[in-house]
């Protein structure tokens, strides 16, 4: 078969697979890609080599499909991954007013705009400017990370303590969410030090050693929350038009592209953090921009970070998907770059076209089945996946992480603080005193 058809078919298959998987709440595409990598390596061991023309576009399709369609569970099932956390509130507003379909489609338009941004803005300039930017910035990453950490911690505000007589009770009421946020950040950071320095997960599957922690921090608490508190979803309307215009799309691309771009480029910074920074930087107030901007941000974050590996002269590894790809194939040429851009374009189109039917299907599903059962089903899948890949040790990590991940949910602080698991150890390591801390903790 000609390489062109191989690429095209693999890309479409990857997109379709991830589009369907994206509709399941809590299941992350990187976990599925991890399983795929294991399968490819097993084939390789058995003497069957799968050519990169098959698995590279397939993996790109999977990332693109996920970035575009994961909005469906985020808005309609209320179980987003951490990078979609800002979509939740306005998105759920849409859902509760019977406009869940519209909410998902606005985010999808954002994703499509993100694809245009990557292909037509980032694509042509990246090979020329990004290697230079990386050369300039690579020595400054540590303080950039510390500034981001400071911003995350300091931009949370007291949410209570407005009434009642002055005293400890009032003080506690005001500060409990802040304290919970700080506790979450530092507990997650400590967990990060343990896992990144001396992971209890078997070294044979070390490439997934942080997966149980992420599942515990983000996926399981959301599933539990949905199971406990799922509200009655009103009848949803399917519309034929969206209340958006060109100006709105451009402003969304501005805020979302900036947030997603920052998240894609900076190590340990995810879409949620990028969105927070960009939200403050661009100060866009319209709710539709908020939702669409998150669509752009999420797309640029996931797909952009994956694409950085393909940029000639840069080859930056950002995000779990890129790390997994690197174990199988390291792109170096312009041919790889064009392959990536082409696959992104095709996959974006396919994923967008699948958005409407899949959103309708999920709406049909939640109309007929109990919303809580979906979360229970997702939780079972997640637990089976953690057990299958990392065993009981991984499950233990997931349970501990769940305890940490429940803190922001129960205290009403930001779930973003859970990212301390990566931010704190990486910032310390980059600043050169990570080993001092691990030595103090007697981990090294």
């Amino acid at each position: 078969m000609e390489a062109f058809w191989m690429v095209l078919i693999s890309c479409v298959i990857g997109t379709v697979i991830s589009s369907v998987i994206s509709c399941l709440p809590g299941l992350h595409i990187y976990n599925v890609m991890g399983a795929m990598v294991l399968g490819l390596l097993a084939l390789e061991t058995g003497g069957t080599m799968v050519p990169p023309e098959i698995f590279v576009p397939m993996m790109i399709g999977m990332v693109v499909g996920w970035a575009m369609l994961n909005t469906i569970p985020a808005v309609l099932l209320g179980a987003p991954d951490e990078s979609a956390m800002f979509t939740v509130l306005p998105g759920q507003k849409y859902l509760l007013s019977g406009r869940g379909y519209e909410g998902t489609m606005i985010t999808a338009v954002g994703g499509l705009a993100g694809a245009f941004f990557i292909i037509f803005v980032l694509g042509p300039f990246a090979p020329k400017y990004l290697p230079v930017a990386q050369e300039v910035l690579k020595g400054h990453m540590h303080w950039i990370l510390w500034v981001i950490i400071t911003f995350i911690l300091m931009s949370e505000w007291p949410k209570g303590g407005n009434r009642g007589p002055a005293g400890w009770a009032k003080f506690y009421d005001a500060w409990k969410t802040l304290l919970a946020g700080l506790a979450t950040f530092f507990l997650a950071g400590l967990l990060g030090f343990i896992i990144l320095t001396r992971s209890p997960v078997d070294h044979e599957v070390a490439f997934q050693n942080i997966m149980p922690a992420f599942v515990g921090l983000f996926a399981i608490p959301w599933c539990l929350l949905n199971m406990i508190s799922a509200a009655d979803v009103p009848k949803q309307r399917v519309v034929k038009g969206l209340e958006v215009d060109g100006d709105l799309i451009l402003r969304s691309v501005w805020s979302g592209g900036l947030g997603g771009g920052l998240a894609a480029y900076l190590p340990a910074v995810t879409g949620g953090v990028g969105g927070l920074l960009a939200g403050h930087a661009t100060a866009q107030r319209d709710e539709r921009i908020f939702i669409m901007g998150q669509g752009v941000s999420k797309f640029v974050y996931y797909v952009g970070s994956f694409m950085l590996l393909f940029v000639p002269g840069l080859g930056l590894t950002r995000g779990g998907g890129a790390w997994m790809m690197k174990t199988l194939y390291v792109p170096t040429t312009y041919s790889d770059y064009y392959l990536a851009l082409g696959s992104i374009a095709i996959a974006s189109a396919v994923a967008y076209l699948m958005m409407s039917p899949l959103a309708r299907m999920v709406l049909w599903f939640i109309d007929r089945f109990n919303y809580r059962h979906v979360s229970t089903f997702a939780l079972v899948i997640i637990i089976v996946m953690v057990l299958a890949v990392t065993g009981w040790v991984g499950m233990f990590i997931a349970v501990v992480s769940t305890g940490i991940g429940l803190l922001p949910v129960l205290f009403g602080s930001r779930r973003l603080n859970c990212l301390g698991i990566l931010l704190l150890p990486m910032a310390c390591n980059m600043a050169g005193f990570g080993e001092v801390i691990t030595r103090w903790l007697r981990l090294t």
Partner: protein, 512 residues
Amino acid sequence: MTDSKKVLPGHETQSDDINCPSCGRFVGPASRCPYCKAKIPRRMSLVVFQWAAIFLATVGLFLLYLMARSREVPVVMLGNIQPTMNFGQIRVVGQAATDGRIFRNGGMGFTVSDGTGSMMVFTSQRQAQELEARNMIPKAGDSVNFVGGLNLAEDKSSMRLVSVDDFQLTRAPAATIKLKDITMDLDGSSVEVTGQVMDLVVPAAGSKRPYSLKLKDDSGEVAIKFWQTDYDRIEGKDVLNGAFIRARVTVGSYEGKLDLKLSSGADLEILDGPPSAPAPTPAQKAAATYRQSKPSRARDFSRGRSVAATSLSVSAVTADMDGKTIRVRGRVESITPPQEGTQQPFVLILADNGSRLRVAYWPSVDEVIAIKPTPGALFEVEGAVTVYEDKPQMRVTSGYKVKLVNDMPASQPTVDESKAVPVSSISEADKGQTRVVKGVLGPARSLKSGVAYSLTDDSGTIDLILWNALVPEDVQAPLEEGVRVVATGEVGIYEGQLQIKAAAGRSVMTIR
């Protein structure tokens, strides 16, 4: 619902929770109805879950921390590294294949090899500084033992050093050599030289030139170069001129000329008089001291789980050890599973030099054992000693504590003699392939961390290389000139000569 339970007028939209289930009156948050005294069931407060989450997070994290701390990092051969191990921490026991090189960013890198593969190891700037301060920058040939974090990619893989404290280095003894014998052929190797300092040329202030030390022995004269940082570390540097010294230098070339570099300031020792017998350098002494304070860890077969006890032979287990937790190694004589429908344990009999030890464990433990014991295989078990009828026996409570050491029965040959090929059939095209050869050993030649023999059969001769890190001592012990052996290993080429690098383990066997 009786009339008494009817919702009061105006309360129709209120939640049932605030009305008494018995009389239907409004009771608010009260836990007992003030009217009919009925107990009001209340929802569990969210605060309970908040504290439960905090408890789970902190206690769980502490347990995880203890688990991580007590976990031994598994030793993995570089040749066995799989892409799925990316980001994993592994222990590497091998040799530095290149000198440690300090990069412009202050970090350091060297290549480590363990006979099954090689990999670049990187350190951070801080780690490089600490290693330099401890005179532990590796040189080619030095034995190293450290924990590294894997960074695997399809094109190039590397490791980053996890901890300087855990980095163990044993300097390879450098051959003492006459100055006239130092030629370009030794390019890249470390040698030890002795002689008298004839002159020390100090670079001018602000100059970027190195120090140059002219050294003379009875065979010739050479210049040794080093930098200010090395000079600062030389003990007694003020009396260097005219002194007799012993130094370890790296042979290199610069613009086609011989270039000798002092390995480290700590590798230069000022002698009391003209040199006699070689003595250990300060670096070797330091390495020896370090070794004594932190002995090398034994290879870990536990897939990362902690094993604290020292391995004993079966005969060493006595009734006096009652209650103690020990680790025993022996060959499996028999394994008896419990009879169906009974509550009996699995009974494993370990044997060693005529001694036998009964080891018992429950079926739940057996389920966890990764590789089940089979008769003839060498196993290591860890458990508590109990005494029954004055005889010691062991009780194992964890499946992770029953580990395979070697699945080859003692009586079975480890090298398949029937697969031996004539030496003459091995060519350069076979490089990297595994071959079995059979022949008579020639005289032993000592290498930095191993030994080389020539192996001759009817068709020709080839070098057989045995690295100490790979081939156990008991395998090497019976080998000497004239002994007939069969060996398996990878075909390699060194300085244009073919060689067989004996594989890890019991890869060489004496035959008649």
